[in-house]
Amino acid sequence: MSLQRLLPKKAEAQKLSARSYFARAAGLGASELSRKLGRGEGSVIGGRVTLALDPNALATLGRGRSVVLVSGTNGKTTTTSMVSAALGTMGEVSTNSAGANMFGGMVHAMSASKAVATVLETDEAHLPKTVEATKPRVIVLLNLSRDQLDRVGEVRTEAVKWRNCLTGADGVTVVANGDDPMIVWAAQVASKVVWVSGGSGWRLDAASCPSCARKVIWNGDDWACSGCDLKRPSIDVDLDDDRVLIAGQTIPLRLSLPGIINRRNAAMALAAANVFGADLIGAAKAIGELTGVGGRFASVEISKVPSRLLLAKNPAGWTESLTLTKGSNEPLVVAINARIQDGQDPSWLWDVPFEQMKGRFVVATGERGRDLAVRLHYADVDHVFEPDSRKAVLRAAQELTDNSRLDVVANYSAFQDFRRLVDK
């Protein structure tokens, strides 16, 4: 059954006032101009122009749509593309481009496409206002851990804001990670929750209960607070190796993307698609075909050096990425920037167990590569500092054995710097 048949037709969904219509057109024009001038994809600038002319654009453009919001500290972009692929088996989908997850990027996504099914990656700090404006049908909450403390704020403060916005949000199904105490506490107030085993590779931020601050006791995957009744909920959607157990069905996953973390993201996406009644076997197949969004996990060549690009933005993400690169003795390039979008305080480097890299040769690079070099110095990891990204790859390549591949792990803007070097 096509999604459009379940939902209002496109034209009916988009009755815009003259002002909103003009704001949308102006934004699309600005975006087009920005693209032609070679200033990137232009989605953020376009959305900002629309918002300047119509401050309620998120609500006006969201009206009549079936919106899925995807938020959390890690896995937003990948999971958004998975939900889009899954719903794409039912009809056309509007979605924002990789990483453009603030108001501008979300508005542009809805300006550019009238498809009713709308999947929006939403920055954590922007979630409450986006929920209020777009009245989503599904909210996917992946995980919550420390990230960009200088901009987003502390994890608990964020969890309180989420909990407040989900209290009394009508008609929404929250697809939530039951393995993350922060998420469970924030989501349990929602009227309908589907609990997914979304994983908890990083537990430091949830060591103390978000509700009463007492110790959270872990027993394998299971957890419960020692001071109050917060505990791991009964899981509705579980992962069994490469099968997802959902709604009484066992759905096989054959992902092109690596690691258990992506299988967990896929389980979250299938749970969201299930709310819309998608055929889950077909949806899983579509998810399996994704080969990486915005260059994540991509195998590429940089100055003829075969490399794999891994994005890691915060301690939880780094811990996942270090797990992916484990078991190899090959050299690594590790890159850290601290621009606004990265968070300007990289002291979290000291929360990441870089000691695990001992025995491997590491080239530290990026604008904050010196912080990283000092971290590796204290971890007794053999390393050099090389400020230039391309030279860093070439330096690491000298230590690479034949027929092997270099892993390049980078945080957000440093990752974009490496993408620009691909095939050059």
């Binding site: 420390r146 403390l149 200088d150 502390e154 994890v155 608990r156 403060t157 430091l204 060591a207 103390s208 601050a213 007492r214 110790k215 020692s226 300007q344 305080d345 002291s347 979290w348 480097l349 000291w350 929360d351 010196r370 912080d371 070099a373 000092v374 971290r375 110095h377 204290y378 971890a379 500092f385």
Partner: protein, 263 residues
């Protein structure tokens, strides 16, 4: 000199939000590089803080965990006894506020601290104080420069028994516009500097270690630390200029908005 130095990290699960666990890594490594044994104890939430350690570290944390750490330490008084016995204590941000006489909780209400150092913290107005911090202090009569990254809502006042760790060169520090940073009283040293503080300031790390070991320490290889310091001092200098131009402008607009709202 003790044959082994014990470093106790107080509830890193609750007071470890800003990478301050790095301070323990630095202290232990700098001892090992000098052939001195180091033992680091990370106190788990379910455990009591052990007595008899040489150095106690308290890091930054969120409001609610900060209150629960204080309640526990006030109950057991382990830290009070350790200070009486001559332990060295290093507190960062929330860790500094806890050691003082009072600080604001998550509900903004003032709560009693441990009273181990003569400082008081209140909730500051406006946005959090966030950014690169550069200060100048002294160790054994010689001027030393410190670099850190501050991120706090609290403003801290020093009583007569405490003296500042340093004077602010750029950034905010304890109190808006007053120019002091951190506090020292006896063998307790506190600061708002994350970064972490002892990563960026090997001089301060060694001062703590010399206090704990009771002897002067050999220099170690700090080439990479020195390069990082040069870079960070330059960045802090940039913040001072940004604050005096754009920062002030934003402040004025913010004030006007607030006034308009009140009317």
């Amino acid at each position: 000199m003790s044959s082994s130095i014990s470093i106790c990290v107080i509830y890193p699960d609750l007071l470890g939000t800003y990478g301050d666990g790095g301070n323990a890594i630095v202290l232990a490594q700098r001892l090992r590089w000098r052939g001195i044994k180091a033992e680091t104890k990370l106190v788990d939430l379910g455990e009591d803080v052990p007595a008899g350690c040489d150095i106690y570290l308290l890091g930054g944390g969120e409001d609610q965990p900060q209150v629960s750490v204080t309640e526990r330490l006030a109950e057991t008084r382990v830290l009070h006894k350790a200070v009486d016995a001559g332990a060295v204590v290093f507190g960062v941000c929330a860790g500094m506020q806890i050691l003082g006489k009072q600080f604001p909780g998550a509900d903004y209400k003032l709560r009693p601290g441990l009273g181990l150092i003569d400082i008081e913290t209140q909730r500051g107005d406006g946005p959090r104080r966030v950014g690169e911090l550069a200060t100048r202090g002294e160790i054994n009569g010689a001027a030393v420069d410190y670099t850190g990254y501050e991120n706090h809502q609290g403003i801290t006042f020093l009583g007569s028994e405490a003296r500042p760790l340093a004077q602010v060169v750029s950034g905010i520090g304890n109190e808006d516009g007053k120019g002091t940073e951190g506090a020292v009283q006896g063998r307790i040293i506190t600061t708002y500097m994350h970064g972490p503080a002892l990563v960026r300031n090997a001089n301060l790390a060694d001062q703590l270690l010399e206090m704990a070991t009771g002897s002067a320490l050999e220099p170690v290889n700090d080439v990479e630390v020195d390069e990082l310091r040069r870079e960070r001092f330059a960045a802090a200098h940039g913040r001072k200029h940004a604050d005096s131009t754009q920062g002030a402008g934003i402040g004025v607009i913010g004030d006007l908005r607030r006034r308009v709202k009140r009317r």
